[in-house]
Symmetry: C2
Subunit: 412 residues, 2 copies
């Protein structure tokens, strides 16, 4: 007999109940409160099945039923079911180039508390960052840490991350190589809940898909422009991770092999043509002028300064070149420009579109729209919370029982 | 109430039975005959559930149970369950640049009959191609056409295909634009079974994943090198289609924006550096020397002719440039070089690998292997059969009943 199963698992009565609980919890998490009638019509399950499943979610403390409300439809009013954001929470962190952030997010996606502090650019020791994160977290919530409602921790980091164990293979802006961030954060915070780590662009894309401009769109290319350029790809409704979670490094797609050297060791990566440094140097500024330098360029552009407009147009053209390739490869319905790209969008739109028209195949190009992101700087932080919630969305029943019971007692 | 359901459908007892039938049929189709004991251990379903489900498959004529065989394991021998390849078949076509092919493939992936004829390169009218395909199909199987066992038709075509309805948006080598190939083939063949059309590289990748060198690998990049260069991407175990099935046009990723003009209207697409014409011109041959010209280059290379070796090494370098970008974007576990690329593989391997080392990020590069394809010229044809089988794999129960019953009578 084979070692590992080659077939998909079959569905047994117990797995069916768990799968249906997952459909309901994921639905409420992504779409907000729904009436029992809506749950019946949207899932195709019977009224009595929904009653039973919702009852289990209420008993476990994951959901609450509000007093029945009339929805303007005929018939008896149907009780409104919502997740209890205060009873089940995730702690989210964002380790960005210019800032560190922490938030407590309730199941259902409600941001209960959030704090963000600037950090100086450049290399930081892992110890320093962990200490800063612990301090941020301790300032959130009530005086007890960890809060007993917390079921998991999600971390967004500007680096290449192995999803299985939260190893940061490389984070050039932090100066990190092979840092077991998930394990070290568990130790630093002294918590037993799972810690999931993801790349900031992957998680920014996930957040825009769940909570932002890409809600309801199954094929999305999120392009994050910070110092580095990263991508968060949604393919057929799910994040593209690749073999180990390293997928989405679109900033290191070679677009100009005779071009400038890249931090990654290659030359002519997309990032070298569209990243922050490319914009700064094209506008005659020092390459390390940072976010303040970009602010100046945007001011100049508003005032009609030719060099700033030309630098932005040039970045726009190269954005269009790379996007054309990605549109041909991935056939997305929506391209979402995040980070700095959403700020410069009005000034790069025309030159971007011109290259896209010239280089993308007619068929996929005709289906795609390019829009700025809607969640701003918080997208990776919100995506980190989504990552932390994923296990409870996939199998809510695994969270019934003693842990949740005690959490409810503790917060009662 | 919403128009379209925002939630995933719930699982009801009827959908559970159908889903479990799908797990079994897909398992037998992809992995070959399995004993009832193996089905129990691999699906996690009970012995009695497997007995019931297998009984339904046997009653419907999809599967047969062979006499119990001893598997070298203790205990009672367990009957071996296999799909009945002769009772349920697909008709597959391949419209390639240099040839047309047709095959009858049995459920389970058994090629029952196959025929391939050369076609002259260049533009062909849709009418001519349809007539040729009809003639090929009529020569297969017994004298009746359509064969009553045939449940669907799959077509691979060297073009950009909208998956939902088989519209060929553009097929540059055939000279086709906006050809409703699926509908026209149904009419030309006078059949009522579904016709599914896919891009040849997408289907080549699917075949290598199901039947070839990439079996069991969840993240695969299949690169098809014919006159054009296309990709078949497997992401998390499933084909990447994108919003409309146009995904995978990796040949039109801009790698050298100052480079040569491409058939697509852009400049410096990957195809202009690694396609057949690039190899031919680099070796001093006419760009239209075709497959015979490539044969000559390979002969020269075997004999150590410097110009041929240099041309191949140059193509290898550019292969490595593009693959580095794709490895960074997709984090595949396996890159499969198909079509002409599998033939030239021994002569491009070193220069390809050197650029890949130089340009791919360390983390994803460390996980990926580059191998030649194993199914040769037949990969798209086999993938077309897989496409035709997909509906019966996804929901075998929908095929129980009158149609299969009469098919069995007709072939009895």
């Amino acid at each position: 007999l084979p070692q590992a199963s080659r077939l998909d698992p079959g569905l047994r009565s117990e797995t069916v109940r768990r799968a249906n609980l997952s459909v309901i919890v994921r639905g409420l998490h992504e779409h907000g409160p729904l009436s029992r009638s809506e749950l019946v019509s949207e899932t195709g399950l019977t009224r009595s099945a929904i009653r039973g499943l919702v009852g289990q979610l209420v008993d476990s403390g994951l959901a609450v039923e509000d007093r029945a409300v009339r929805l303007g439809t005929p018939g008896r009013p149907s009780p409104l079911v919502r997740l209890d954001a205060a009873a089940t929470t995730a702690l989210a962190f964002d380790i960005a180039v210019d800032s560190l952030a922490a938030a407590i997010v309730g199941l259902g996606g409600v941001v209960l508390e959030e704090v963000r502090i600037d950090r100086p650019r450049g290399h930081s020791s892992v110890e320093d960052v962990l200490a800063d994160l612990a301090q941020l977290a301790a300032g959130l919530g009530d005086t007890r840490f960890p809060d007993p409602t917390m079921i998991g921790i999600g971390v967004a980091v500007a680096g290449v991350v192995r999803r299985s164990d939260g190893l940061v293979a490389i984070a050039p802006n932090l100066g990190w190589t092979n840092v077991p961030l998930g394990a070290r954060l568990s130790v630093a915070l002294g918590v037993a809940v799972p810690v999931a780590v993801g790349n900031e662009a992957d998680l920014g894309g996930l957040a825009e898909h769940r909570r932002g401009v890409a809600v309801g769109v199954d094929d999305v290319l999120y392009v994050s422009g910070e110092v580095g350029v990263g991508g968060g790809l949604i393919v057929g409704g799910s994040p593209l991770e690749g073999a180990a979670g390293y997928g989405g490094e679109i900033g290191h797609m070679p677009v100009n092999p005779a071009g400038s050297s890249c931090r990654c060791g290659s030359t002519g990566c997309w990032e070298t043509e569209v990243g922050e440094e490319a914009l700064l140097t094209r506008s005659g500024r020092p390459r390390d002028a940072g976010r303040a330098g970009v602010d100046e360029i945007l001011c100049d552009a508003e005032a009609g300064v030719a060099q700033a407009l030309a630098a932005l147009a040039d970045v726009g053209s190269w954005l269009g070149v790379g996007l054309a390739g990605l549109v041909n490869i991935l056939n997305p319905r929506l391209v979402v420009l995040g980070g700095q790209f959403s700020r410069i969008f009005p000034f790069v739109r025309d030159s971007l579109q011109a290259e896209l028209e010239r280089r993308a195949l007619l068929a996929p190009r005709g289906l795609v729209r390019v829009v700025p992101a809607s969640l701003g700087i918080d997208a990776p932080l919100l995506g980190a919370a989504e990552l932390a919630f994923e296990p409870i969305l996939a199998d809510p029943a695994a969270w019934f029982g003693p842990r949740l019971g005690s959490a409810r007692l503790a917060t009662a």
